[in-house]
């Protein structure tokens, strides 16, 4: 009950701030980039608020509980992405004055076709990224209210589409900054209070020692709504609806729907797709094989390091900085704000392994952050903290999904809809229609993608962004000889390689471990392919060469010399 009230409060505050913001938005420039009059701290909080998604709030802890400490590389990569942005992109791109990657592609390369191609890639990345947000919403609402999965998916989809259709970026900047603090408070406070309440990390042997996850001293009771296939790592007795049963080590059993009870100290059976690990195996951030193999870790780090700059909802926000140095200051602040948030998810991953081992049985490790407070602290304390994390989780889905929807609606209404219409009211109407229409496909996909881990889905979005927009931006900003044809072939090569490998990985099972790692996280292959294609094709493309000095001057010339573009390039 408290949780529902907390979720309603966050949703209401989001909608309220959005509506308040739209009153302030008057021109297209206002609508899209909030007139560039927002201070670095507001901007940094807004960027972080938009960025910290379901993958950060629920997914890291969930993946850590499920796979082990290899998941700890995720927050590292998610933050390092902003370092890449700072070093190579933030200031030059801000000076160039294009609002979106599509604008950048057209203005830098002089080709409307590359713009359309970039627009399709934006939709692809945003799709990969929206689905796990909606999945998280379905999961959270189910966890706190018992509502069916689809209710949360549809509800958050509708709220976000309405919010984006009614508010502009100005509204969204304050909304997103508010969401950052909501999320950080909601993940930090329960983590600290739980550690104090428990007096540190309980039962360390299960976390870091030789033990497999076990039923607690009071036994373990799990209600199953549907039959659940599990593997028993060790022999144990258990009961289903009171009827005693016996399992041998290695038994694969389909548990029927009903009440399953395990005696105290019994090793918890694991759902399909989860390996039972001893605490020692589980605590290794790198392992010689498996989900923490060096190939996988490096590929993941590469994807997140290079992919962040290519996320469509992130770059738009940099144009709300007044100039290049301000864009740098904002990015440094983002690094600090993200570091503050990412200090906490692993507390849930570690505690969850000991305190809510039933999630290994149900396979729903993604909900560990939500389930932990009440399991660790029975009574009002746990209930209040549970409500707080549920509200924080909702802030996470809504902020990221809103940012993505702004990009999707902008891309559909400006890049793909018949262009050339300058009328403000027509533009706004198109933006709204696109926001309402653009949410349908991700909602449909989220309804069928319940089985996939949130962090895995988000990993794909990063891999795709790193293999397409990262080379486009880096070469476009720093290399004069990039041509439109080279950029286009590189975009296609990177996108095809990344998605091809991902879908091959979904289709085939259990190959060589290194091959599996590459199919799950293909960045280490697809990023070099994209870069090489862009460079080689551009070098051979003699006809496509054009004078890029003017564009590079605008990107790199310091402010105050009168050499940059004073006005935004497109859409002004």
């Amino acid at each position: 009950m408290i949780a529902i009230a907390a979720i309603a409060a966050v949703t209401g505050a989001t909608l309220g701030l959005g509506v308040y913001g739209v009153r302030l938005a008057r021109t297209t420039s206002d609508l899209f980039v909030a007139s560039r009059a927002i201070t670095p701290w507001w901007n940094a909080a807004a960027i972080s608020g938009e960025y910290l998604s379901a993958a950060s709030f629920l997914g890291i802890a969930g993946l850590q509980m499920k796979l082990g400490s290899g998941a700890l590389w995720l927050p590292l990569g998610f933050t390092a992405g902003y370092l890449a942005l700072l070093l190579f992109v933030a200031a030059p791109l801000r000076r160039f004055g294009a609002y979106t990657i599509s604008d950048f592609a057209e203005a830098r390369l002089g080709s409307p076709r590359v713009r359309v191609l970039a627009a399709f890639v934006v939709l692809g990345i945003a799709g990969f990224y929206l689905v796990p947000q909606l999945k998280g919403a379905g999961l959270t609402l189910g966890e706190v209210t018992g509502a069916p999965y689809w209710v949360g998916v549809v509800a958050v989809g509708a709220v976000v589409a309405l919010n984006v259709a009614s508010g502009g970026m100005r509204g969204i900047t304050y909304v997103q900054a508010f969401q950052y603090w909501t999320k950080t408070f909601a993940i930090a406070l329960p983590a600290c209070l739980l550690l104090i309440h428990l007096g540190g990390l309980p039962e360390r042997a299960a976390m870091f020692g030789a033990e497999l996850p076990q039923a607690p001293a009071a036994g373990l009771t799990v209600e199953l709504d549907a039959p659940q296939p599990v593997t028993f790592p060790e022999a144990t007795s258990y009961t289903v609806d009171g009827a005693p049963r016996q399992a041998q080590a290695g038994d694969e059993v389909v548990l029927p729907a009903g009440t399953v009870e395990l005696p105290p100290g019994a090793v918890v059976p694991v759902a399909e797709g989860i390996d039972a690990q001893t605490g020692e195996e589980w605590a290794r951030p790198v392992d010689s094989s498996g989900d923490a193999s060096p190939v996988f870790v490096y590929s993941l780090l590469l994807a997140t390091f290079l992919g962040t700059m290519g996320l469509p909802h992130i770059l738009v926000r940099f144009y709300t900085n007044p100039d290049g140095p301000a864009a740098r200051r904002t990015t440094v602040r983002v690094l600090g704000l993200l570091a503050m948030f990412y200090a906490f998810p692993l507390v849930y991953g570690m505690l969850g392994r000991v305190l809510v081992p039933e999630l290994y049985l149900t396979g729903e490790t993604d909900s560990v952050v939500l389930a932990l407070p009440e399991a660790a602290w029975p009574g009002l304390g746990g209930e209040l903290l549970g409500a707080l994390v549920a509200a924080g989780a909702f802030a996470a889905f809504m902020s990221t999904a809103s940012g993505l929807m702004v990009s999707v609606a902008g891309t559909i209404s400006f890049d793909l809809w018949r262009r050339g219409h300058a009328d403000m009211t027509v533009r706004r109407r198109r933006f709204r229609v696109a926001a309402l229409g653009g949410v349908l496909a991700p909602v449909a996909l989220a309804l069928v993608a319940r089985e996939l881990d949130i962090s895995v889905l988000v990993g794909w979005a990063f891999a795709l962004a790193a293999s397409t927009f990262c080379p486009l931006l880096l070469l476009g900003i720093w290399w004069r000889r990039l041509t439109a044809f080279g950029a286009a072939t590189g975009l296609i090569a990177g996108a095809v390689t990344a998605t091809g490998l991902i879908f091959t990985g979904l289709a085939i099972e259990n190959g060589h471990p290194t091959v599996d790692a590459l199919l799950t996280q293909p960045a280490v292959l697809s990023v070099p392919v994209a870069f090489a294609t862009m460079v080689l094709v551009s070098l051979r493309d003699r006809r496509g060469r054009r004078a890029a000095d003017a564009a590079l001057l605008a990107m790199h010339a310091p402010e105050g010399l009168g050499l940059g573009y004073e006005e935004p390039l497109v859409r002004a």
Partner: protein
Amino acid sequence: MRRTPRDELAEATAHGGLYLRRLIREQLNLSAVALVAFGGIIGALPLALLLLPGFQDVFVLGVPLSIVIVAWPPFPLFITIGVVYARRATALEQSFRDLVEPPS
């Protein structure tokens, strides 16, 4: 009136092009140094943890060092690199300003 490099840049002369390329190269060098500092440390971390399993047996505040070292210290490192880089990049821009438009 004396022609400054700024005018050459604004008129996109061959001379101006040289100034532009030099600025881009300097900025890129700075970014590359920061990237090497970052990449060297973070890139070595997975390999070091793989080759030195002893980190697992040392406990800091009840948590194995192998987890601690991934979970917290890299973030202050990112921020430090970010702050130093941003300062240097701004200083580089100031010296470019002085170069192309000498205060008269």
